[in-house]
């Protein structure tokens, strides 16, 4: 099983090459090659899950090959429980996105090639245990995203693509400085780019002289890393790239963006910022919690005012990722597990929402809940599209945290976790739950109730392909809402180890 990570990581690249080699005119062949690739990747991730040892917090399926030896840079891959879930999520969502992208007509070859490249780089970010490799994947990932938004996006796509690119790039510069600092701080030795070796609070004593002041090495570079990851999450006040990117991005890219790319930010906290700088993390947990709280409330309030349904869901992502930040800031068993579970659950539920909006967009070619002229954008969808409505209700209620569906358990765990450390913040965060239900249900009311209008009359219900790719997500949302153990058992050792580490500081 040792090479399986290599296969998962490089299979999309092989698929990409195959897509590139396929003649441009054979669009269906290109689609099928992509589908085959993502299907096999998904199957491999399931095999990975079945072979995963849930009892240990250590890295598993490790691959370590020297790469640039004079700097001790290795091709170093491995996964733990947290990445296991993200791997599965990534494999699942790309499989689904391939199916949902079947209707893309513009430059099919380039689109699917970029999609596969994106999948590989996202896997790379989650697998990489070498800082240099991690950074490479983190940056390379921007390229396919940039082009996917910039070429296949909506009217204002160039602005959104550049904004997305620059904003993320801006954050990663700080991360790079942090990485270089760690390289020097560990004496440029064998493990100086090894993420795992840095973990455990080894830099608590170091200081940095900056502008004549002595600063803690940990604190300074924790915040550098924080900036890099917080932009990705995105945490208030670094969130404004997200609505632009989501609104302009094509459906599949929105799904990937909300489903997995945002999780790379919180993953960065779990893998890098917290374990490498635990003391600084504990010291700054109040600030993280407050920023998370603001994201929750502010995101929810902004979502409620949106007339564009995709923008509404984009802001809801800000709000839901704020819950993840709250859970992380809690640094307790419940909070951390809840945060990781929420990463997964938000991945599935928000993917459902974006896919559903995409399906509707293909019929209506607009996304207005209320059109700019004040008339209703939709209306009577529940009458006209019964299947669509059913799936929409499942996705929406999972998103707002209805018990019995997946979102509830993670949110409840986060609340349990955060309450132990920040009672007042918990009490305020409850408002987020309330508004979270309000904007979704209000949107639902405006779109689905009422008489069918002439425009809506022409829409078709979901076709077999659309139903087919929504089923896995519906199953995830319902099954993991009732039986969360398959997810929690995988992550709890890794999360528990991190909680233990943080509790020492």
């Amino acid at each position: 099983m040792n090479g399986i990570l290599n296969w998962i990581l490089w299979l999309p690249v092989i698929g990409m090459v195959a897509v590139i080699l396929t003649p441009k005119a054979k669009e269906n062949a290109i689609r099928l090659v992509t589908l085959a690739t993502t299907t096999v990747t998904l199957a491999l991730s399931v095999i990975l899950y079945m072979n995963f040892d849930t009892t240990t917090a250590d890295m598993q399926f490790v691959v370590k090959i020297p790469w640039i030896e004079q700097f001790h840079i290795n091709y170093f891959l491995g996964i733990d429980g947290i990445t296991m879930l993200m791997t599965f999520l990534n494999a699942l969502l790309f499989f689904i996105c391939t199916l949902s992208s079947w209707t893309v007509e513009k430059n099919v070859k380039a689109y699917f090639a970029l999609l596969l490249m994106l999948q590989s780089t996202v896997f790379g970010v989650f697998f990489a245990l070498d800082f240099f490799l991690f950074y490479v994947y983190w940056e390379v990932m921007l390229l396919p995203m940039f082009f996917l938004i910039g070429i296949w996006g909506g009217e204002n796509r160039e602005y959104a693509a550049i904004k997305f690119f620059l904003y993320t790039f801006f954050g990663s510069i700080f991360m790079l400085v942090g990485i270089i600092a760690l390289y020097y701080a560990t004496g440029k030795g064998v493990d100086s780019f090894n993420i795992v070796a840095h973990q455990g609070g080894k830099f608590t004593e170091l200081t940095v002289d900056l502008f004549g002041k002595t600063l803690s090495f940990e604190t300074l570079f924790f915040w550098f890393m924080f900036l890099g990851f917080a932009i990705k999450v995105p945490v208030f006040p670094f969130h404004t790239w997200l609505p632009h990117a989501h609104v302009q991005a094509p459906t599949a890219v929105s799904v990937i963006l909300a489903g997995v790319l945002l999780k790379m930010g919180t993953y960065g906290f779990l893998r890098i910022a917290f374990p490498i700088f635990p003391q600084a993390a504990v010291e700054s947990s109040t600030i993280i919690a407050v920023l998370g709280l603001i994201s929750v409330i502010y995101g929810a309030f902004c979502a409620m005012a949106q007339d564009d349904v995709k923008k509404l869901v984009a802001y809801s992502s800000v709000s839901h990722m704020g819950f993840v930040m709250l859970g992380l800031a809690a640094m307790t068993t419940q909070g951390m597990n809840g945060a990781v579970l929420q990463m997964f659950n938000h991945g599935t539920s928000t993917a459902m929402m974006f896919l559903l909006i995409g399906i509707l967009y293909e019929r209506s070619h607009h996304r207005w809940i209320v059109k700019p002229d004040g008339s209703k954008g939709y209306g009577g969808l529940a009458t006209k599209l019964p299947k669509y409505t059913t799936v929409f209700i499942i996705g929406m209620f999972a998103s707002l945290g209805l018990p019995g569906l997946s979102g509830f358990i993670s949110e409840a765990l986060i609340f349990l976790g955060i309450y132990q450390r920040f009672t007042t913040i918990t009490v305020i965060a409850v408002v987020g739950l309330l508004i979270g239900a309000a904007y979704l249900l209000w949107m639902f009311k405006r779109m689905f109730f009422g008489e069918v209008n002439p425009e809506t009359e022409e829409y078709d219900d979901m076709n077999a392909r659309e139903v087919f790719y929504m089923i896995p997500l519906c199953v995830c949302v319902i099954v993991f809402g009732v039986f969360p153990s398959p997810l929690l058992n995988v992550m709890k050792a890794s999360v528990g180890q991190l909680v233990d580490l943080l509790s020492k500081f």
Binding site: I173, F174, T240, F301, A305, Q306, T333, V427, V430, F449
Partner: protein
């Protein structure tokens, strides 16, 4: 009988199975699976009846309970042990609830198969109704607040779906949204209260909470300066207020009548709305510990009275019943608040039965004549004799006429309220509780009989020829306004008549007037009193109050918990002789006499106004106040027009505008301007200083800046800023480390 998962689980798994089958295959089944849903509820009923008989006739002790748990999920790692247990907790109260819920739900399902015939939403209705029933049964079976909350919310979802089932109507959408969001206000507080308890005592199981109270684990714990018991108790009660439509969260319930009438009967009258009361009873020791009982009593009294006044002016038959539901829930809350524990629970049960029957009767009327407005009815008793009979029984019950169930339960609550308000040495302002309670009782008798008289008596105001139509019911929907003479039909009338039988008082108390009528069936006829009593919390009664973070150091015996002791003074082990027993008996005697007088005067007044017509209705004399009542005291306008539309949406629009229009535009994209200034300065520096001096390597710098220039000028903003930061950061870094 030994209880296992095998003979408890079918109670809620049978309806879940019906839900799943109907959801996937309902369209293909004959009659869209309504028989399957009904059958599944019958299975629940059989299993519930077994448990009920075991508890009531077999063990016959107040402290008998079953508690079985299993682990839902486990987050333990290393030395950190933390897992979430789920379980089943059945005591007498739960056993009675199970029987009531499954029984009423079965009859309502049966009725619905008639009512929903040929309705376009027939199939959908029978998907959500069994799901709802299973959630309610599971809620009753829950042994902890978490699973209670889970099923509580699932019921909220079912309620949402059934209110909005006629999704072509905009109003249905508004009503369902309002219902879900209003109850959600309470729900998030419930979640918060649960979290607070969980993180302090380490569990939310009822048994553990009672034990924690007994062991004093709540003592000295505070949340944001409030004692934990008060904070958690208040949060949990707020949850109950939302679900049980208590003032000021009552606004959703009248609108919930948008759904099909049998759905309203089950969800918005008989069972779900009572869940808040059930929760308050379950958490009663916490409410006492947190000194919240007076608050519960006051909220209940305001609700009971306010809703009764609004019901006076309603013309829609379902609206009258909706407001009467709110009002009756208020009475249950009064019962909880004044310490009338078993009477509050009894009222929950009696109300569930008569209110389910009232709604089904209303459904029968509406479905027969296709009219909801009472001014357009009249004289219907000739056409709908069975419906009339059932509805009359229930009206007598709700009005508090002796020998009917409503009298038994409401009289006890009012008697205890009388003691609580005037004799228990409470704050004199709390006299408002019995005053509003008795006033509301009079109004109840009046508006219920007003409804009966307007609907079934007097002349028919429909202006249509009524004739006998032999083909049964529901087939001629298109004929519209013809009235068919009601034949005794299994699905239409039998559920009503069965429910009507159980509106008789003797089912609930052998003593028909509550106290004096001989105990004809022996001691066991007082089963309700004997079986249902507040959870025993041993140290509870002598709990020194100063530990609760309150300066009030009264011994806890002064708490209203003392009130119900006399009901079962031999059974409760912990209270000891109550010195107030005499006073309480006096209060009960006065209360019984008062409520009989008040109920009959209400009925008599309604008779004078609507049958004899010798007294003119008062509304024309007070147009202003009538207007206020018709607008439901403007609560809906306050919430929707001011709080939500002006406040919340205004704030949201402002924030969204700020986010994109100000913050993103200036603070984020604004860096472009800053960059341009910096860039110009650098260019100047480059041209003037660097070029003039002509240092070696200038070419590199110029090339770099030219690159940046191209980027910036071609609209690729912010690159310059990034380069700047990089240079700055690496500079700082290389110099200092």
């Amino acid at each position: 009988m030994e209880y296992t998962v095998g003979n408890i689980a079918p109670i809620f798994l049978a309806p879940v199975l019906a839900f799943v089958i109907n959801a996937f295959l309902g369209r293909k089944l004959p009659r869209q699976g309504d028989w399957l849903a009904t059958l599944s509820i019958f299975v629940s009923f059989i299993f519930s009846a077994r448990i009920f008989s075991d508890f009531v006739f077999g063990k016959f002790a107040s402290d008998n309970f079953i508690h079985k748990t299993f682990t839902w999920f486990d987050l333990s790692y290393g030395a950190n042990i933390w897992k979430v247990d789920m379980g089943v907790y059945i005591d007498n109260m739960a056993a009675i609830m199970l029987l009531m819920v499954s029984g009423v739900a079965f009859l309502i399902h049966l009725f619905s198969t008639w009512y929903m015939d040929h309705d376009e939403k027939h199939g959908r209705f029978f998907i959500f109704l069994p799901l709802f029933t299973s959630a309610m049964l599971a809620l009753v079976l829950s042994d902890n607040l978490l699973s209670l909350f889970i099923f509580w919310e699932i019921m909220g979802f079912c309620s949402y779906s059934l209110i909005g089932i006629y999704n072509k109507k905009e109003k249905a959408g508004d009503a369902s949204l309002k219902a879900f969001m209003t109850t959600r206000v309470g729900d998030v507080f419930l979640l918060l209260g649960m979290v607070a308890i969980w993180m302090v005592i380490g569990s939310v199981s009822y048994v553990d909470i009672y034990a924690a109270i007994a062991q004093g684990k709540f003592d000295g714990q505070a949340v944001m300066g409030i004692s934990l018991a008060t904070f958690a108790g208040l949060c949990i009660f707020l949850g109950g207020m939302g679900k049980s439509a208590q003032f000021p969260l009552h606004v959703w319930l009248p609108d919930a009548m948008m759904g099909p009438t049998p759905g309203s009967a089950l969800i918005h009258a008989a069972t779900m709305v009572a869940a808040g009361v059930y929760l308050s009873l379950r958490m009663y020791p916490l409410m006492v510990l947190g000194d919240l009982t007076w608050f519960i009593a006051v909220i209940g009294a305001i609700t009971a009275f306010m809703a009764a006044t609004i019901a006076l002016v309603q013309t829609d038959i379902k609206a009258v019943l909706a407001f009467s539901t709110i009002s009756q829930l208020g009475y249950m809350m009064i019962g909880v608040g004044v310490g009338s524990y078993n009477a509050a629970f009894m009222h929950l049960i009696t109300h569930a039965i008569f209110k389910a029957c009232l709604f089904l009767s209303a459904g029968s009327v509406i479905h027969s004549i296709h009219e909801q407005e009472m001014p357009k009815m009249g004289g219907l008793r000739k056409y709908l004799p069975y419906t009339h009979f059932a509805m009359m029984c229930c009206t007598l019950a709700i009005a508090g006429i002796p020998f009917f169930s409503g009298f038994v339960s409401k009289d006890r609550i009012l008697g205890d309220a009388l003691y609580f308000g005037f004799m228990a040495g409470q704050n004199p302002l709390l006299a408002i509780v019995p005053i509003l309670g008795f006033a509301g009782a009079g109004l109840t008798a009046f508006y219920m009989f007003r409804m009966m008289f307007l609907t079934f008596y007097g002349e028919n105001r429909m202006h249509h020829h009524a004739h006998d139509h032999g083909h049964g019911h529901g087939h001629e929907d298109d004929h519209g306004h013809e009235i068919h003479l009601e034949h005794l039909s299994v699905r239409q009338n039998i559920p009503l008549l069965i429910l009507a039988v159980f509106t008789l008082g003797f089912w609930f108390a052998g003593t028909l007037t509550g106290q004096t009528f001989g105990k004809v069936f022996g001691a066991k006829t007082e089963w309700f009193k004997i079986l249902v009593e507040a959870p025993k919390v041993e140290k509870f009664i002598n709990h020194p109050r100063e530990l609760l973070g309150s300066t009030d150091s009264r011994p806890a015996t002064d708490l209203p918990v003392a009130v119900y002791d006399h009901h079962s003074d031999t059974q409760t082990g912990y209270a000891g002789p109550n010195p107030d027993t005499h006073k309480i008996h006096k209060a009960h005697t006065i209360g019984a006499i008062l409520s009989i007088i008040i109920a009959f005067s209400g009925v008599f007044l309604a008779f004078l106004m609507y049958i004899k017509k010798s007294v003119k209705p008062l509304s024309p004399s007070f147009p202003g106040f009538t207007e206020v009542l018709k607008n439901r005291y403007y609560f809906d306008n306050l919430y929707v027009d001011i709080v939500i539309k002006k406040g919340l949406l205004g704030l949201n629009r402002f924030l969204a505008w700020f986010d994109m229009g100000v913050y993103d535009r200036y603070a984020v994209d604004g860096w472009e301007k800053v960059n341009r200034v910096l860039f110009t300065a650098s260019k100047w520096f480059d041209n003037v200083v660097v070029d003039a001096i002509g240092v070696d390597g200038t070419g590199v710098a110029v090339n770099l800046f030219n690159l940046v220039l191209r980027i910036v000028q071609s609209g690729k903003i912010q690159f310059y800023f990034i380069v700047l930061i990089t240079v700055l950061a690496s500079y700082i870094w290389t110099v200092n480390i």
